[in-house]
């Protein structure tokens, strides 16, 4: 079972925002870079599957500048068998469509794979589009926000999160999945001193975008602006009534007036 996990270097959640920053964007301070938290769940999923199966390997791939070496090494320190980085210095390619093309081309170059995993979204832009886009480019089946995986010969059964519950589907391998931060992979493992020592001695191979045959990296998506949603002013309402059913009724009708879908409540 060969699994490819894509990981992303994002800005540390704890890094303070600059005075004029609404979004940390692409900083160049190495200390502020961390592994996209959601990707750790994907690494956990990959490692669990390989451990359960008893054979195979997990390859972590990261598109980023040399700042992302830290993230690649963390993947090895978590237990990934090998890892490499696709050089994207100064964030040359950031539009998602082109990134997906590059990742798909990298998968083709790797050649042998049974599963391709992503985190459910990235911590920064959070578009959650990479897994479905890559699966389209490779013409592979896909499922998003997967909580549980069971192997079934050359197929897999996955439970994916949908609104209000989960849905079980069967996919033909190889397949592309995005892993939810809940369910079986909720607690990604830590790095360990032993694996950190190994990771620090590993030289991270670097691939060039231009040699990947990703096709034309045209800009189909353009960022015009990133802004915070405007602050909403809401009035605090206190409901008072000694009769509890009346109190609940008042609360629910107030919520209904606000436009909340209360299902069976009329």
């Amino acid at each position: 079972m060969n699994i490819i996990v894509f990981i992303k270097a994002t800005i540390d959640r704890n890094a303070p925002l600059g005075p004029d920053e609404t979004f940390p964007g692409d900083r160049d301070d190495k200390a502020d870079v961390m592994t996209n938290n959601y990707d750790k769940h994907a690494i956990e999923a990959a490692l669990q599957i390989v451990e359960k199966k008893g054979d195979g390997k997990v390859t972590a791939v990261c598109l980023g500048s040399d700042m992302a070496d830290k993230v690649v090494k963390e993947a090895i320190a978590m237990g990934c068998h090998e890892a490499f980085r696709i050089e994207n210095s100064e964030a040359r390619v950031i539009n998602f469509f082109s990134v997906a093309k590059i990742l798909a081309a990298a998968i083709k170059k790797i050649g042998t794979y049974d599963l391709i995993l992503f985190g459910m979204q990235s911590y920064d832009y959070g578009t959650a589009t990479m897994a479905p886009m890559v699966s389209e480019f490779l013409d592979l089946p896909t499922a998003s926000w997967v909580e549980r995986i069971s192997l079934n010969g050359d197929k897999i059964n996955v439970e994916k999160v949908i609104e209000g519950g989960t849905r079980t589907i069967e996919l033909q391998l190889p397949a592309v999945l995005s892993i939810a931060s809940s369910g079986d992979f909720e607690e990604p493992r830590y790095t360990s001193v032993r694996r950190i020592m190994k990771a620090s001695r590993t030289k991270v191979p670097v691939w060039e975008i231009d040699k990947l045959e990703a096709g034309a990296l045209d800009t189909n998506v353009e960022f015009t602006k990133i802004e915070q949603p405007p602050a909403r002013m809401e009035e605090c309402v206190v409901f008072k009534d000694d009769d509890v059913p009346v109190l609940i009724d008042n609360l629910l009708s107030a919520l209904k007036d606000k436009g909340l879908n209360l299902g069976a409540y009329k």
Binding site: K70, K73, Y190, T191, V193, I196, M197
Partner: protein, 408 residues
């Protein structure tokens, strides 16, 4: 975290070592701040347990689960030589790990200084058999290390121990009472001090590795202490009644135990200074958060000069404490004798922790006195720091004697 990283950059680590240090500290920070900190209040409320019927001790719920995570992440192997399943990394890194653990929970951080002291004493003074047997166990964390020095009448004056060790055949048999054993009853190794030649006074003491499995019924927990703070950590009183210690568990030469123990305490004192920096850092951060949100007289109290200057003093003391312990640890890594510097670091950092946790309660006002707020626990926990591993007064004695001798 960045404060530690900044200081690390001033040390003579290679690029590869810097990277390893950073990755290890990141991992410890995550473990401490995501998981250990969550349990810290529960541990304080539940406390450690002792069952008088079975004489068994246990840690509060969930503590051993997190101890296991430390084992899985190989944390106890950091300073153990590679020959004994360790990684032979720096004492500087080790003490920074202690600080991060103490930031989350002082009680939990108690696993660390005694572990390194056990590792160091056995590695430096143990027989080949003792090293082969105990260092891998301490490295993996399968054995917790404890110190059995203090006795009812031997505290600061450690030379006054009366526990006697009698050699019969291939084993010593130890009889006496030991108190204030952190992890006593739960530990896999206890470094103990006992009289082997009564006629020689302080020069008639020897140090041993007491292995409770070998000592059997001869090693028995009598009670655990109800303490002011550190409720989650076990502090036991242990009765030794002809506790068997095989000859190969003698540390150093017979009758040279006192010098050996006193010489080794210098390094564990750096660890206590690191604990102090950790708990003081947390008290500082709690105070900053509170001072920014608590509004009195129309503005956050942190904007009033009285409070803002307190915060400035606290930040300065925390930084000094951190510089002292890291610098002393680095000196030790460089092979220097740090007897005096360790005492300076321990004395300054533990006293700073008193002042900083005291001020933290003061900044929180009435809320600081309430159990609901963390600073109340920090204040209670911190109190022990100037007492254990040598009181502040003992440190001053060492510093004064040492510097005067140096001047001569």
């Amino acid at each position: 975290m960045k404060q530690i990283t900044k200081i690390f950059k001033t040390f003579n680590f290679s690029k590869e070592e810097q990277e390893q240090n950073q990755m290890i500290l990141d991992m410890v920070y995550e473990l401490a701040m995501n998981e250990i900190i969550e349990k810290e209040q529960d541990w304080d409320e539940e406390g450690a347990h002792f069952d008088p019927a079975t004489k068994q001790v246990s840690y509060p719920s969930g503590m051993m689960d997190l101890y296991k995570k430390c084992q899985e992440n190989d944390l106890f192997a950091i300073i153990v030589p590679e020959k004994y399943d360790g990684f032979g990394l720096s004492y500087t890194l080790w003490t920074a790990v202690i600080e991060l653990m103490a930031r989350a929970s002082l009680a939990f951080s108690m696993f660390f200084p005694s572990q390194s002291l056990s590792i160091e004493i056995i590695n430096n003074h143990g027989t080949a058999q003792a090293k082969e047997k105990y260092l891998p166990l301490l490295s993996s964390g399968d054995a917790i290390g404890a110190m059995a020095f203090s006795e009812p009448n031997a505290g600061s004056d450690i030379s006054a121990v009366t526990t006697k060790a009698e050699l019969e055949g291939n084993s010593y048999y130890l009889t006496g009472n030991k108190i204030w054993l952190s992890h006593g009853g739960a530990a896999g190794t206890n470094i103990g001090l006992a009289v082997t030649d009564k006629s020689k006074g302080p020069r008639g003491l020897s140090a041993f590795v007491i292995d409770p499995e070998i000592a059997g019924d001869g090693y028995e927990v009598v009670r655990i202490e109800e303490k002011m703070g550190l409720h989650g950590s076990i502090t036991a009183q242990v009765a030794l009644d002809r506790a068997e210690v095989p000859k190969e568990n003698l540390l150093g030469n017979e009758n040279e135990g006192l010098r050996l123990v006193l010489g080794s305490l210098a390094s564990s004192r750096i660890g206590i200074a690191a604990q102090s920096a950790g708990i003081a850092e947390t008290a500082l951060q709690e105070s900053i958060n509170y001072a920014n949100q608590r509004v009195q007289f129309g503005r956050p109290i942190g904007k009033h000069q009285a409070i803002s200057f307190m915060l400035a003093d606290m930040a300065t003391q925390v930084h000094q404490a951190r510089l002292l312990y890291l610098n002393t640890a680095r000196m030790k890594d460089n092979g220097e004798n740090t007897q005096i510097e360790s005492s300076i670091a321990k004395y300054y950092a533990t006293e700073a922790a008193q002042k900083v946790t005291y001020d933290a309660v003061q900044i929180h006002g009435g809320y600081g006195y309430s159990r609901e707020y963390r600073v109340e626990r920090l204040f209670r926990d911190a109190r022990v720091l100037t007492i254990y591993e040598g009181t502040s007064e003992m440190q001053k004695t060492i510093i004064s004697r040492g510097t005067q001798a140096r001047a001569e």
